[in-house]
Amino acid sequence: MQKDVKRLSLILLFTPFALWILLLIIIPHMGMVVLSLREKVAPRVYEYGLGNYIDFINEPIYWNTLLRTGSMSLLVTVLALLIGFPIAYYIAKIAGNRTRGALFLLCLVPLWVSDLIRAFGWILLLRETGVISSVLQWSGLVHEPIEFLYNDVTVIIGLVYTVILFMIVPLVSTLDGMDNAMIEAGYNLGGSGPTVLRRIIIPYAMPGIVSGCIVVFMLTAGSYLTPILLGGKNSSWFTEQIYDQFITRFNWESGAAFGFLLLVFTSFVVWLGLKITGQTLANTVARS
């Protein structure tokens, strides 16, 4: 009786989760893999084969875009970590109890606004007739309007801005769990500031760093809106290629192949990152 109730509640609890995984993650991806293996040989005639993947390899623009997306995403991840770590450290360890809540909330505020509106905000600021350009002209520093949009630097800034929160949150939660006495012990035993940071704080925060980096990297590599709106035509983001295949060319088969390639590629990068830092996914999830 007791056992049945337990089992039933377990099933009830797990059903939504299992459904979600099955319907929204597993089935679409399997469908995508199947789709990507189909080749159009004539109108409405399909054949199974690796043609879509061979096309990808034969066309340097495609894999260059993928590599570029990957490396820019890595850069964004590193920048988000470098900027996010001090912020997270300040929130978790230095700020008083009351300011901590306020600061954390402040970090969450950008999430209140949709991606699209945020990107438009950047556009309003940065375009040729935008706020910054106008102010610079008005102050006499420059004499003609400057276009800040549509270059890599702007794309990276915009991306860092959108994803940094996902770096800060796991970092704050791991650093918060760190006993202050541990840092003090680090100093007490003779460590200087940099030593304590390198040998105690960073190793302790490693699970948070890794999970933050994974989330940020995945989000960046898979983002669409920010690179397109801030980078324009020459942003060359891989998601743009996928969109192009699906919507513009109506070539679902190759779009699916691209999508699957993006997944494989980003997973590979994450795996490589875990290998290099000597972390495992299990211990990262357990401790952050």
């Binding site: 006495a181 541990m182 003090e184 035993l189 190793p203």
Partner: protein
């Protein structure tokens, strides 16, 4: 003020405020080399704050701290040769035992061979030679304790600070670690400053104990001095068990005084404390349970009982059996419960609850302090 390096640690008029709270108030003390010094006080009296100032984590508002005769006020925490064992030990969970102990040596720039030799040596000394490669979570509570001490001792500190290091342990382990700590201190021959709010820890282990209350040191002395000759009523009440009365002193005659308690009892007592009470003042009276003798009212007391004694009649409320430390709780006619040591042999002679008893004790054992 002396600067003789015979003292490992000197604190001179140290004070510290947290906003309106005066956590440490004008504290001065000196600790001779190689001794075990405890600071005993109730929760929130400023013990941790005092220790954090010595370690350099808090800046004192005023005063000076000298280690081996040299002022360390301007030195950063990592430049002071004072090591600290934290309340929850603060071992580094991402390092194994060996790395934990080696951390401080690496910070000092010791060579690999030297680190290896010294870590092995200190592990031998704490009698845990085989745990070097273990992770911290694979150690027992008592082992963690010893590793935390070894991690400090491997650096040859001038003073080792311990902030209630036994607080997290269960009772049985605490008892064992008490003796262990004392032995370790002997072995390393380093000055230990031990913070606790557990008086039995302080009394058992220490050469000297300071009693702290509300940021001030009430008294510094050997455990025996504090127990038998307390300076203030706070010390008398805090160290050891006591029966207490409050009242007013009516007559004082040399070493004995007569006090009328609030419950209307007249007691003879000896004035104590650094400021002696005077006639007419309100006082507090302390009598330790081991000095009170309880016997049945129908039996007469021993013939050689000294003449002027304090007497109190009452009924046995309950017996607290604890082997050789058994006590009897007696309810006096005014309703107060009084504790007295008794010998319970298990025979028919023992006192039983409900019996009428008379309590007697001498005025010399009746300490009376000005309030």
């Amino acid at each position: 003020m002396t600067t003789s390096p015979a003292y490992d640690l000197e604190c001179i008029n140290l004070s510290k405020n947290f906003g309106p709270v005066r956590a440490v108030d004008d504290v001065s003390f000196t600790i001779p080399s190689g001794s075990f010094f405890s600071i005993l006080g109730p929760s929130g009296c400023g013990k941790t704050t005092l220790m954090r100032m010595i370690a350099g984590f808090e800046d004192p508002a005023s005063g000076d701290i000298r280690i081996k005769g040299k002022s360390v006020i301007d030195k950063a925490p990592n430049k002071r040769n004072v090591k600290m064992v934290f309340q929850h030990l603060a071992l580094f969970p991402m390092m194994n035992v060996y790395e934990n102990i080696a951390y401080g040596l690496k910070c000092n720039g010791a060579s690999k061979a030297e680190i290896e030799a010294r870590v092995r040596d200190v592990l031998d000394r704490i009698a845990l030679p085989d745990v070097a490669e273990r992770e911290i979570h694979q150690l027992s509570g008592g082992q963690k304790q010893r590793i935390a001490i070894a991690r400090c001792m491997v650096l040859d500190p001038d003073v080792l600070l311990l902030d209630e290091p036994l607080g997290a342990l269960d009772l049985k382990l605490r008892e064992a670690m008490k003796i262990e700590l004392k032995l370790l201190q002997h072995q390393f021959n380093t000055t230990f400053v031990y913070i606790t709010h557990d008086q039995s820890e302080a009394l058992v282990m220490s050469d000297h104990v300071a009693i702290m209350n509300q940021g001030k040191f009430e008294q510094i002395g050997t455990p025996q001095e504090l127990y038998h000759a307390p300076n203030t009523s706070f010390v008398a009440g805090f160290v050891g068990d006591s029966n207490r009365w409050s009242g007013r002193m009516t007559v004082i005659n040399g070493d004995t005084a007569t006090v009328e308690t609030d419950a209307g009892l007249t007691l003879l007592c000896s004035p104590a404390g650094s400021i002696r009470p005077e006639a007419g003042q309100s006082v507090e009276i302390f009598v330790r349970p081991e000095f009170i003798h309880a016997h049945r009212q129908d039996t007469s007391p021993a013939e050689d009982e000294p003449a002027p004694v304090n007497q109190l009649d009452g009924k046995v409320d309950s017996l607290l059996f604890n082997g050789a430390n058994s006590r009897v709780l007696v309810r006096s006619s005014s309703g107060q419960l009084i504790e007295a040591d008794v010998t319970l042999t298990g025979g028919t002679d023992d006192l039983r609850p409900g019996e009428a008893v008379r309590l007697v004790w001498s005025p010399q054992q009746t300490m009376c302090f000005r309030t």
